[in-house]
């Protein structure tokens, strides 16, 4: 059962990812990205990361992508005109991309230490309590540094958006 759901969701995630690149219209592309995030959330759930799955949906699919779509709608961006494609790009592009992906996959496989495969349901530390305890004990410093980083980003956004009053 876990394997079937894993296969379905990973296929959806990859298909949505490819669709994201292929779509000409920004809204279709943005919605494909929502599809990727939704299926990733299901994969997190399968791996036992319930909190991460919910956060993925709330933050990425529910807030970040809604803002993207909001901006696309506000600018009323139309479909991108198809650019002129060189014939050699058409000919060599896809095989070169495939070789590149395979090389990266091989490099990751070769460099990482051998370990047994992932087993669904073995990891149990993904509950909200588990994450909270980890964040406030082992990872306290990175957590605080990230919050300062976000504060700087907010200040930067305010400075950029602020109109100078003369």
């Amino acid at each position: 059962m876990d394997l079937i759901i894993f296969l379905i969701c990973s296929v959806i995630a990859v298909a949505c990812g490819i669709n994201l690149v292929l779509q000409k219209h920004p809204i279709s592309a943005a919605l494909s990205l929502v599809g990727v995030m939704g299926s990733l959330a299901v994969l997190y759930l399968l791996l036992g990361g319930a909190f991460i799955a919910a956060a993925q949906i709330i933050v990425y699919a529910g807030a970040v992508m809604v803002l993207f779509i909001f901006v696309i709608m506000l600018l009323n961006a139309g479909a991108e005109p198809a650019g002129r494609k060189r014939s050699y790009a058409r000919l060599f592009g896809p095989p070169l991309l495939a070789i590149f992906v395979l090389l990266i996959a091989y490099a990751i496989q070769a460099r990482l230490p051998r370990s047994e495969g992932v087993q669904f349901g073995r990891f149990t530390g993904g509950s909200p309590e588990g994450i909270g305890i980890k964040v406030f004990t082992d990872y306290l410093l990175p957590f605080e540094v990230v919050s300062v980083l976000i504060l700087i980003a907010i200040l930067g956004a305010i400075v950029l958006a602020h109109k100078e009053i003369r």
């Binding site: 929502v34 699919a61 809604v66």
Partner: protein
């Protein structure tokens, strides 16, 4: 019993009850609004218009399913599906009552209990924005687009105070599972004051409750925050170009969101299925007494009919009330009906508040709406959260 069979039966029962509730919620809203405005409301179809929802459904199904020529067809058809699907999903984690024994099968009055139940509801409701935003954009109509834009901006803004308001009672009960949240609110102070989150120490969540209710009005696009479909400015907002069942889907989604939010408020703040006061003081007999009094009042009014048909309808209503009161005396049904009664009473009270406010308040202006969210609601919710966490930390020492 087989887990799958049991789940399917429970899902079917919940879906049937939810859809019926949605249909009659709309009837209740029309009736109540009418009485607030000194009208009588629907009363042609069935006694007191009770068959009006059925007539509406038949009308909407049999209407011609038109697709305007200027729309983006794929997203235009997808939007109502998204809206209605994400509006109906949250009911699957909401607990309606305690564990009950039905014909030898012990089961919870809840479809499934997630240990991240609250987060699940937040996640699903945050996905609901897509239905409205896509409907507005794909209609290729300036009114629709403005409605969709307003709606997405409003829902993003009000999600923040709502999430902060939800976080404060969670600090008191210390869990995210909706079932455990309600179980943590059991019991009474001095036997009379219930230990619901809005009364529970060390810091009663009454402010969080009010903020949650206001944000919930905005999240569900209801008056006074119904700017996405402001009739006098935007025709009908994001669903201007929709007709027949596609329009019905948006309508259903709006009412389903109302029910979800009312259920969430009940579970988080009002103690779910916990009765108002202790059974030691006879709260178990309250439902039967309430129905009996309703029946007697209906019977008394039926003796002096104000309208011609009242002679027949009011005694019939009285008989229904007496039967309902009688059901509470059956020992097998009592254990099931009591929690359901208290849950339904609280949800019903919040839904009544929704309709009441729709009949009372005018609409906000758009800049007022945003100003209110960011300058008032967000800081208040934040301060409430800080005070709650401080007091919880001190109390747990």
């Amino acid at each position: 019993m087989n887990f799958f069979l049991l789940s399917i039966i429970k899902a079917a029962v919940v879906a049937f009850v939810l859809l019926t509730t949605l249909a009659y919620l709309q009837w209740a809203e029309r009736k109540l609004l009418a009485h607030i405005q000194l009208r009588v409301g629907p009363r042609r179809v069935g006694p007191h218009g009770l068959l009006q929802p059925l007539a509406d459904v038949i009308k909407l199904i049999t209407k011609e399913d038109m697709i305007p020529s200027h729309v983006n067809k794929f997203f235009y058809l997808l939007a109502p599906f998204i809206a209605v699907a994400f509006a109906l999903l949250p009911i699957s984690v909401i607990p309606f009552g305690t564990e009950v024994d039905v014909g030898g099968v012990r089961t919870w009055m809840q479809l499934t209990d997630l240990n991240i139940g609250v987060l699940f509801i937040l996640a699903v409701s945050s996905m609901g924005v897509y239905g409205v935003a896509l409907a507005g954009w794909s209609s290729n109509n300036k009114y629709s687009l403005l409605g969709g834009l307003r709606s997405s901006a409003q829902m993003i803004s009000y999600e923040l105070p709502m999430a902060l308001a939800i976080a404060s009672p969670l600090l008191l009960v210390n869990t995210l599972s909706l079932r455990a949240i309600v179980q943590n609110q059991a019991g009474w102070y001095f036997g009379i004051i219930p230990r619901w989150s809005i009364f529970q120490g060390p810091w009663p969540q009454i402010f969080a409750f009010i903020i949650f209710l206001i944000a919930a009005f905005a999240e569900t696009n209801r008056v006074p925050f119904d700017l996405p479909e402001a009739e006098n400015e935007l025709v009908a907002g994001f669903h201007t170009e929709y007709g027949s069942m596609k329009f019905a889907a948006f309508f259903m989604a709006e009412y389903a969101n109302m029910v979800t939010v009312a259920c969430l408020a009940t579970l988080l703040f009002l103690g779910g299925w916990q009765p108002l006061w202790s059974p030691e003081y006879g709260s178990n007999y309250f439902p039967a007494a309430a129905f009996t009094v309703t029946g007697l009042a209906a019977l008394y009014a039926g003796l002096k009919p104000a309208r011609r048909l009242d002679k027949y309808t009011l005694p019939a209503a009285a008989v229904v009330s007496f039967i309902l009161a009688g059901l509470f005396f059956a020992p097998a049904l009592n254990a099931i009906l009591l929690p359901l009664f208290w849950f339904a009473a609280k949800v019903g009270a919040i839904l009544f508040l929704y309709i009441w406010i729709r009949g009372t308040l005018p609409r906000f202006r758009y800049d007022q709406l945003m100003h209110f969210a960011w300058v008032f609601m967000f800081p208040v919710a934040m301060v409430n959260l800080l005070i709650t966490s401080l007091l919880v930390a001190i109390a747990s020492k």
